[in-house]
């Protein structure tokens, strides 16, 4: 063959191949999400807000800020190491609130004169033990994470304000009792607002810890982006355990940890609990030597009920998410964490009512497909697989069985529950076993309509209400109107699992 002709042919074949290759696959501009403004996100991450209102804080808390695990809030040295922050979006420079976020001390209706007020320089500067320091930390923390999720592209439900009570009273009069409550008021459309209440007046008070505010904001954020459809409806209605509750805790922890760029949460508040040696975090998304690294350790039912704890499954879940985040950051060290957060929170927004770990995995894959052209499908699946979770489980050959009896609750007039034994007769495990109570004709109300028990191994049983077994509060519960004749009122008990047929037991009161 003529050498020059062959070179020309090679040349044109090359052009042909290159043009074919350039039209294969999908462009990120077609299948990916809109690009993020990374510089603004980095600024928010560093709390670089533009404002004339200045505050002095130790973030995230005195322990993590100083590195001193023995530090307490009233240590005088803390006053000398406060950092300067700017407070964004204040409605007026003299009050820690805006149209959405309202910081209080005890209750929603606190007298304004009792609340934090800036000094003559216009600064919110208080000693760490001072309750006004807590108010300042509350406002700054929640404003910062609110700005972050908005910059990621999430609009949140501001139809009602968020009230934050940094030293609430009412449920306990013991100042050493530490707690944090979040009320979304999903069932009360006429509520004044959402409420976050912190309790405790200790050397390590929750109000001094940004981790607490970021975690609790996570609950509000998750309810908001899921349009309050109830991803933990059964937990909201009193179930001891549910996978939806675990997902709630998981995502709340993940959000706080990711924005902190720190794979653990709660070293400060953990100082209030004897279970935690000084300096140990409350929970960790990074692998440690414990029994929370594998799905089999956290979600299998055991007779003591140890795994009926939303925080165990939630912490395992946060480690899966952290693994996904770590992979994405490895691919893109400068911006990956922001894209990881956007993907994970977007997945959360499409979770169904009474969600499960299976639902979360599916949602993550879908979110990745729509926002990242699906380039992390394998990483996501691998993250779950490596921590012991597979969504491909064998179908149960036979339905679960249940034997039980009705029991009237003497302490609660008109209320009843069930003593029961649920058995898995199969050689396979039953995934996400739940007991559901339904009222076919509305003659009674299912007050606690569903309880979850995790996965049930082959040949294993769940026993509730019998002496030596789990107490009856782990059962579903109904209530009748005693002024009416309730005899003969029909009910349906249903035993459900993700990989098996429903077992339905009809009965009558």
């Amino acid at each position: 063959m003529n050498f020059k002709a062959s070179k020309i042919s090679l040349f044109f074949y090359s052009i042909l191949i290159l043009s074919l290759l350039s039209s294969c696959g999908r462009l990120v501009t077609e299948c990916g999400g809109t690009p993020l403004n990374v510089s603004r996100l980095v600024g928010i991450e560093k709390s670089a807000f533009q404002s004339t209102s200045k505050a002095y804080l130790l973030t995230p808390n005195p322990l993590d800020a100083t590195g001193n695990i023995s530090v307490q809030s009233f240590d005088s040295v803390l006053g000398n190491v406060l950092d300067t922050y700017f407070l964004p979006r204040l409605s007026v420079s003299t009050r820690l609130e805006n149209s959405f976020l309202k910081v209080r001390i005890n209750s929603v209706g606190d007298d304004a004169n009792l609340l934090a007020y800036p000094n003559s320089n216009g600064e919110f500067r208080f000693d760490v033990p001072d309750v006004h320091y807590g108010e300042t930390m509350a406002y700054h923390s929640i404003s910062a994470i609110q700005a972050y999720v908005e910059e990621l592209g999430f609009q949140t439900n501001k139809s009602k304000p968020l009230f934050v009570m940094v030293r609430a009273q009412g449920s306990t009069s013991d100042p050493s009792e530490v707690n944090a409550f979040y009320d979304h008021n999903r069932f009360n459309p006429q509520a004044l607002g959402r409420e976050l209440k912190l309790f405790g007046e200790t050397a390590h008070a929750p109000r001094q810890d940004r981790d607490i505010y970021w975690h609790e904001f996570g609950h509000y954020f998750l309810e908001s982006i899921t349009l309050e459809r109830g991803i933990d409806d059964s937990g909201d209605r009193g179930a001891i355990f549910s996978e939806g509750a675990a997902i709630h805790e998981c995502l709340a922890d993940y959000g706080a940890e990711s924005l902190s760029n720190r794979g653990y949460i709660g070293r400060w508040v953990a100082r209030n609990f004897s279970e935690y040696p000084a300096g140990t975090p409350l929970r960790s998304a990074e692998k440690v030597n414990d029994d929370l690294n594998n799905y089999n350790q956290v979600n299998y039912f055991n007779p003591s009920g140890t795994n009926l704890d939303r925080y165990r499954l939630g912490e395992w879940c946060s480690r899966v998410l952290w693994d996904i985040r770590t992979q994405i950051v490895t691919e893109n060290s400068d911006e990956g964490r922001f894209y990881a957060d956007r993907t994970i929170f977007s997945a959360a927004s499409i979770l169904a009512k009474n969600s499960s770990v299976t639902d979360l995995k599916s949602a993550l894959l879908q979110a990745d497909e729509e926002l990242n052209c699906g380039i992390h499908q394998r990483s996501i699946s691998q993250a779950f697989q490596s921590r012991g979770f597979s969504s491909e489980v064998s179908s149960l050959q036979s339905p679960l069985t249940i034997k039980g009896s009705l029991s009237w609750l003497s302490e609660e007039r008109g209320s009843f529950a069930f003593n029961f034994v649920i058995t898995n007769p199969n050689p396979q495990s039953a995934r996400n076993v739940r007991l559901v109570l339904e009222s076919p004709d509305g003659s009674f109300s299912p007050v606690i309509p569903q309880q979850s028990y995790g996965d049930l191994g082959p040949g294993r049983t769940i026993t509730v209400g019998v002496q030596g077994a789990l107490p009856i509060r782990y059962s579903v519960k109904g209530a009748v109107d005693l002024s009416r004749n309730y005899r003969g009122t029909r009910y349906l008990l249903k035993v459900k699992s993700e990989n098996g047929q429903e077992t339905i037991i009809p009965g009558a009161l």
Binding site: T29, N179, A479
Partner: protein, 237 residues
């Protein structure tokens, strides 16, 4: 052809040609996509102009910040699938939207004569390409309830009828009939008028606040909404 000249400039030709191909893929294709999107926007505009609705007389009232295009798309979707959305004319819908990276989230909540129906909700996602995706639906054609409040119990009467197992968690909160809701069990398809009352259960050692839902006519406990409480399980040092 002057092969020497060709030899010199061939790689320039290749680069230019590949660049043209890439530009065509990204830019022209994108424009074609946008024009189809515009067509859809035009369709939504036509729907908006007609304004008549199967939900006769109950035009969805919306937050002025809402994404009206997404609302229109989802309303049109429901109109096109009446067998899946048999919404009664005496139920009002309130549509709310939230923007997210995966599109616009649209939620419809329901009312009868301005009383919220808790338990009914329809959620959609309108993707960035305009596709309407149903996320969840909880609705059935509930018969119209009679909302005459002459026989309603007071909240004090209800708490007493519960053997004082509950007490108000916030004594300062004014509780009036405006706290009334229509509580629906969409699984079993029954509904009752109810109060939502912020309480503590005196049976619980740790008094975690909750919202108790009581029938307004019988005082029967229908449901409870529990707070998310973080540290109940821990002991003090």
């Amino acid at each position: 052809m002057n092969f020497k000249l060709f030899k010199k400039i061939k790689w320039i030709i290749v680069v230019v040609f590949v660049g043209i191909v890439v530009w065509v893929n990204s830019t022209v294709t994108k424009k074609l996509w946008l024009s189809s999107g515009s067509e859809q926007a035009g369709l939504v505009s036509r729907v908006r102009k007609t304004s008549s609705s199967q939900f006769s007389g109950t035009e969805p009232y919306t937050d002025k910040r809402a994404n009206t295009v997404a609302l229109d798309s989802t309303l049109q979707y429901m109109q096109e699938h009446p067998q899946d959305f048999p919404i009664k004319e005496y139920h009002q819908l309130k549509g709310e939207t939230l923007e997210s990276p995966m599109g616009t989230l649209v939620s419809y909540k329901f009312y009868q004569e301005n009383i919220p129906i808790v338990g009914f909700q329809i959620d959609f996602r309108v993707s960035r390409t305009g596709k309407v995706v149903l996320i969840s639906k909880s609705y059935y054609p509930l018969p119209k309830l009679h909302l005459d409040n002459k026989e309603w119990l007071s909240i004090d009467e209800i708490l007493q009828s519960q053997d004082n197992v509950y007490r108000l968690s916030d004594e300062k909160e004014k509780l009036t009939v405006s706290n009334a809701i229509i509580w629906v069990d969409p699984v079993s398809q029954w509904a009752q008028l109810a109060y939502v009352v912020p309480v503590f259960s005196l049976l619980s050692k740790k008094k975690v606040p909750e919202q108790a839902i009581f029938s307004v006519t019988t005082g029967q406990l229908l449901a409870r909404e529990h707070s998310k409480s973080e540290f109940d399980r821990f002991k003090k040092p």
